[in-house]
C-alpha cells in the first residue's frame, strides 16, 4: 500500500444481484475492504451493467447502460477529493460487461460519440477516461497479497478451497487479468488468507449460466461435474466471484443429487466471505443464512465456524 496512514478511496459498483439475492457478496466486500483501510464509496445512481455483453458487431444500444455508469464515476470523481478515475466491482458479470463496453468505446470513436449524443441529459461527457477494475485485480495489484496477509487475524488454516473462475473473469482474453486457461489470482488470495487452494480441473468450465431459468436439469449436470471435480480434490468448499455461478453451483445441488445419488453436497462461498472470515469481521458481514448449503459445518470442522 502506498501510504499506510491515509485510507485509499475507491468507487464501488455493486450491481443488481448484490442488492438482491447476493447481499452476502455485497456486505462481505464492503466489510473486508474496510479492514484493508480502503474507503469504499458506492456510486450514486448506478444502473444496470448491461447484464451480458451483446456479441453482435453493431449494437450501440446495449452499450448505453454500461457507459452511463462511467459517467457516474466521473461525477463521483468531480465531487470527491482523492477519488481516482476508476471503479471497482466484485461481480464477475458486471466486471465483464462494463469492461467490454469500455474497451469498445475506447477503440471506436463513432460508437462513443453516438452514446454521448444519446446521453444528452448528462452534463459530463464520457471520453474513455475511466478504468474498470475487478476486486481481485485491485487486491493483487494495488493492495498486494503480502500486505493483505498482514491484516489476517484469523488464518484459515487447514481449509481446503477450490477456486472457481467460470467464464466472465477470463474470457475473452481482452478482459482477463490473469491466465485465460489456468488463472491463479484467487488461489494466491486464498493462500494469503492462510487456506490451502486445491487443484481444480473445472475452474474455468462454464456452469451453464442463464439456462438455469428454465432448464435446471442441465445445470444439475454441470453442477455435478464441476462440484464433483472439487470433491475429488478433497476441497471443503468452492469459492466464486459470480452470483450466477453461485446460484447454479449452490442452489441446484438438490437437482444434482437427484441426477447422481453419489453427489457430495459442498458449500459455495464468495471469495470476499473468506476474506471477511480471515479478517474476523462479525456475522453480519458473512450472511451465511443466505446459502442453500450451509457453510458452517465444514468451517466448524476446521475450527473456523
Amino acid at each position: 500500500m502506498g501510504n499506510e496512514n491515509k485510507p485509499m478511496k475507491l468507487a464501488y459498483y455493486p450491481g443488481c444481484t448484490l442488492k438482491n439475492q447476493a447481499t452476502n457478496f455485497d456486505v462481505s466486500t464492503v466489510s473486508s475492504m474496510a479492514k484493508l483501510d480502503v474507503e469504499v464509496e458506492e456510486l450514486d445512481r448506478w444502473n444496470c451493467c448491461g447484464t451480458v455483453h451483446a456479441l453482435d458487431s453493431d449494437n450501440v444500444m446495449n452499450r448505453v447502460a454500461p457507459i452511463t455508469n462511467m459517467i457516474r464515476v466521473k461525477e463521483a470523481q468531480a465531487r470527491m477529493e482523492g477519488m481516482a478515475s476508476e471503479f471497482m466491482t466484485s461481480c464477475a458479470m458486471c466486471y465483464n460487461t462494463l469492461k467490454r463496453a469500455n474497451i469498445e468505446v475506447k477503440q471506436r470513436a463513432d460508437v462513443l460519440a453516438t452514446i454521448n449524443d444519446l446521453l444528452y441529459l448528462d452534463e459530463i461527457k464520457y471520453e474513455g477516461d475511466v478504468e474498470v477494475l475487478h476486486l481481485l485485480e485491485y487486491l493483487r495489484d494495488r493492495v498486494g497479497f503480502d500486505s493483505l496477509a498482514k491484516k489476517v487475524t484469523k488464518p484459515l488454516e487447514g481449509l481446503r478451497v477450490a477456486c472457481y473462475y467460470g467464464c466472465l473473469l477470463v474470457r475473452p482474453k481482452e478482459v482477463a487479468f490473469d491466465d485465460v486457461e489456468n488463472p491463479m489470482v484467487m488461489e494466491n488470495l486464498i493462500r494469503a488468507l492462510g487456506a490451502t487452494p486445491v487443484d481444480f480441473s473445472h475452474k474455468t468450465e462454464c456452469c451453464g449460466a442463464y439456462q438455469t431459468v428454465d432448464k435446471p436439469e442441465i445445470i444439475a449436470d454441470r453442477t455435478d461435474r464441476i462440484m464433483g471435480s472439487a470433491n475429488e480434490e478433497l476441497a471443503d468448499l468452492v469459492v466464486v466471484s459470480c452470483p450466477l455461478c453461485a446460484f447454479n453451483l449452490d442452489f441446484r445441488q438438490d437437482d444434482a443429487k437427484r441426477l447422481n445419488p453419489d453427489f457430495h453436497n459442498m458449500p459455495v462461498l464468495y471469495f470476499t466471505q473468506l476474506m471477511a472470515l480471515a479478517f474476523d469481521c462479525d456475522d453480519a458481514a458473512l450472511r451465511f443464512d443466505l446459502h442453500h448449503i450451509d457453510p458452517l459445518p465444514v468451517l466448524k470442522a476446521r475450527g473456523l465456524g
Binding site: 449460466a209 442463464y210 431459468v213
Partner: protein, 139 residues
C-alpha cells in the same frame, strides 16, 4: 478436360451467409473444421448439432436447418470456443448472429416463456439469471 473444382459462398443461401457474416463480424470460410470449438464446449453434450457443424452449415447457407436446431439456443456465450479457435474465429458471435436472425425475422421465435414458470421457480432466480436469459432468448 477442366477438372478444377471451386468452392465459394457465392451460391446457395449466399444472402444468408452475408447476413451472418455482417452481424457477427466473422469470416465463415476461415473455418477449416478442426473441431476444437466442439471439443471444449461445455454445452455440446446438450446440443443436437455441434459448434463446428453449426459453422459448416452457416458456410453452406443452410438457413432453415440451422435456425431450427436447439443448439443455437443452448450456447450460453461462455466463449471457450473463441479463446481456443486456431483461426481466431469468434464462434460465439456467429451463434449470436443466428439467434438474432431467428428472433428478428418477424416470427419473433422466442425460446423462453418466463411467465410459464411457476411463481416459486421465478422467485428464487437472481436477477442476473433472468435478465441474461431474456436478453439471449427473447426478441
Amino acid at each position: 478436360m477442366d477438372t478444377t473444382l471451386r468452392i465459394n459462398s457465392a451460391h446457395v443461401g449466399s444472402s444468408f451467409v452475408a447476413r451472418i457474416e455482417k452481424i457477427s463480424g466473422q469470416k465463415l470460410l476461415a473455418c477449416y473444421q478442426c473441431g476444437k470449438c466442439s471439443a471444449g464446449c461445455p454445452m455440446a453434450a446438450y446440443m443436437d448439432v455441434l459448434p463446428n457443424q453449426m459453422i459448416r452449415m452457416a458456410q453452406l447457407g443452410m438457413q432453415q436447418q440451422l435456425l431450427a436446431t436447439n443448439a443455437i439456443w443452448m450456447c450460453v456465450s461462455c466463449l471457450t470456443c473463441n479463446s481456443r479457435c486456431p483461426k481466431g474465429i469468434k464462434i460465439a458471435e456467429v451463434i449470436e448472429a443466428l439467434r438474432k436472425t431467428a428472433l428478428n425475422d418477424g416470427q419473433r421465435d422466442d425460446h423462453l416463456k418466463i411467465m410459464e414458470l411457476s411463481p416459486e421457480a421465478r422467485s428464487v432466480l437472481p436477477p442476473i439469471a433472468t435478465i441474461s436469459a431474456m436478453r439471449k432468448l427473447t426478441s
